[in-house]
Amino acid sequence: MLSRSGRVLILYLTVGDPLITTNLIKSLYQSGVDMLEIGLPTAKPKYDGPVVKRSMLRASAHVQGIEEALENASKMTGGGKILFTYYEEALSYGVEELFSRAGGRFYTVLFPDLLIDYPDDLGRYLRLCDKYGFEPAFFVTTGFPHKLVKHLSSLEPAFIYLGLMLSTGVLLPISASRNIRLFRGLVGDVPLIVGFAVRSPEQVGSYVHAGADGVVVGSAFLRVLEEAADEDKRIRRACEFVAGLKKAVENHGNAPE
């Protein structure tokens, strides 16, 4: 579904966030979103910035527990879906339980803290992916050991997701493009998805230019939703926003550096 040739645009959202409606989802896919990264609300948002935290707070008020959240998520149709949650959350729920409930409903399950806080559970993750029909995918940060990144790439995952910043939505003044170029070199042919604080077509353009096969946009998208007065405007603004990003994803060749 993901490959080195086809650049993709992925949107992050929290399942249960009342700003996310079925109509919105449909419109998003239609405006060019290739995949949704669907986050489960959590009590411990390790790497989440203020905007995603707000979304999670909103969502928590509307969904009770993982079952309901997964149920809701499976109703989001129209394109690919990635399940996004902290491995710590999965542990407390039951990892295999989560896999079995999510099985068949998502392209993959991405645990941003898996390799950071539970590096020894990599094997278990791979086995469960196999068993429940997920393509494995890995979240890495710019600080990841190169050897490990290469090893992960050799496992032929669906993609490697590079978190460009320290937390979602918080743009730091760092050389993201240089980092993408460097990781591009490390992952070989594995699709490289980048995210955290991606907000503008300019960013998207240079990230794709630097070697990203896809970008994930979360906080900036959620903020568009927050700032719109009603659902109509939300859908319109969101689609405009998505269209701009999509164009940047595709026009990677002449993106400014």
């Binding site: 950071i116 320290l166 760092i174």
Partner: protein, 424 residues
């Protein structure tokens, strides 16, 4: 001959496991410490903080500043110490005390000042306890034409005036903390005009000042990954110098406060050990003060980087940011945590921990000074203690180890402390 490296080394890409990143508390607090980072630090430093680059080019202006302050620093064979201990071990020490403020701190203070200057910042702000870090920042700020503001705990301000004078001479404005300059300071001062202050309060005042005005940058002395990167000049030089000696160290030793001088000397070798066949048999020993036993008595978990809780949390060995260590003289070792990369390597048993009391350390410093001439800083003295014990162990076992020590600073401005502890 020893030459100054033209790039720093960053160990992140070579770590055996991913480094848990700095983060906000796992809560729904509105206040984001991560969001504050770009308001506190120059962009280049944040870029370095999480950089995937193994080597980072050192800008020419910093190279020049390094050079003018005495880099490359000498690597000295401690022959007389060896003789005194009658040990078959060969002991080398890397002299980070030869620059004007007498410790390794300028290695990172200089780039921090430089990047602030490049961003057209006007002020460099920091806090300091005994003044070792403050004087390095005052020096660096002065060299790059920045104004400098140092919040110094009131007790040190009054009792240890010499480094304060030095900072003033460098042109820094040194304020006793709590000061009337900031809101938190003013409040505390209203309650108690003689408030002795604490490092936590001083940090709050410094950070508040930086966040509250235009053109301010905050300087941090250790713990952050970029400080470890800057300190790598120590180890990069040492690698070449040991090569010139035709030797590979069996043990590399340094004291650890936040961990920057340890990382500075150890990481270039530890990184090589992790990524190539070099330094396969080299051990790396980090020595703490038993007054702040992060490694030997702390937990490995996320904790705030600073006692004030204004900076992000770091996953590190720590004794809790509220821990108040006994008032030992090695102010630089009284930190509650240990830099994340070192903590990870400690967890992975690639770094060995040791802890000594002040008395053990100061006695060792005396022996070292008599043999080698250099009086180590109280902090450094802890590492010296290990070196001496290891060398004596070598004698006992008839084992000819090569021991490499990072002499992180001299004790010329700590003679008052030496006088008290050694009852001179």
């Amino acid at each position: 001959m020893a030459t100054l490296p033209n790039r720093w080394y960053n160990i992140l890409p070579d770590l055996p496991k991913p480094l848990p990143p700095p983060r906000d508390p796992e809560s729904f607090e509105e206040y984001s410490r991560i969001e504050n980072l770009p308001k506190l630090f120059p962009a280049e430093l944040l870029d370095q903080e999480i950089s995937p680059q193994r080597y980072i080019e050192i800008p020419d202006a910093i190279l020049e500043a390094y050079k003018s302050l005495g880099r490359p620093t000498p690597l000295i064979r401690a022959k007389r110490l060896e003789q005194l201990l009658n040990t078959p071990a060969q002991i080398f020490y890397k002299r980070e005390d030869t620059n004007p403020t007498g410790s390794h701190k300028p290695n990172t203070a200089l780039p921090q000042a430089y990047y602030a200057y490049k961003e057209n910042s006007k002020y460099l702000v920091t806090e300091t306890g005994a003044g070792q870090w403050g004087s390095a920042v005052a020096l660096a700020a002065s060299l790059f034409g920045l104004r400098c503001l140092v919040f110094m705990t009131r007790s040190s301000y009054l009792q240890k005036p010499y480094r304060r004078y030095l900072m003033s001479i460098y042109g820094a404005e040194v304020l006793p903390s709590p000061s009337g300059r900031t809101k938190p300071g003013s409040e505390l001062l209203r309650e108690d005009p003689e408030h002795p202050g604490s490092l936590g309060i001083a940090i709050s005042e410094a950070v508040e000042t930086v966040l509250g005005g235009e053109g301010y940058r905050y300087a941090v002395g250790s713990v952050m990954n970029f400080t470890l990167i800057h300190q790598s000049v120590i180890g990069l030089e040492a690698v070449k110098q040991m090569e010139e000696e035709g030797l590979t160290p069996d043990v590399v030793v340094a004291c650890v406060g936040g961990g920057s001088n340890f990382a500075g000397i150890a990481f270039p070798m530890l990184g090589a050990k992790l990524s190539s066949g070099d330094f396969r048999h080299t051990r790396f020993v980090a020595v703490e003060s038993s007054a702040a036993p992060r490694m030997t008595g702390g937990k490995y978990c996320y904790e705030f980087a600073d006692t004030a809780g204004i900076m992000p949390m770091l996953k590190m060995y720590n004794v809790g940011r509220g821990y108040v260590p006994p008032p030992v003289h090695a102010a630089g070792l009284r930190y509650h945590g240990l830099a994340p990369a070192i903590s990870l390597l400690l967890r992975e048993r690639l770094v060995e921990p040791r802890a000594y009391s002040q008395e053990e350390a100061f006695e060792a410093a005396r022996v070292f000074a008599r043999a080698e001439g250099v009086l180590p800083a109280p902090e450094t003295a802890h590492a010296v203690r290990y070196v001496i014990e290891e060398a004596v162990e070598c004698r006992r076992r008839g084992r000819g180890e090569v021991i490499l020590l990072c002499l992180s600073g001299h004790g010329l401005l700590d003679l008052q402390s030496y006088g008290e502890v050694l009852k001179l």
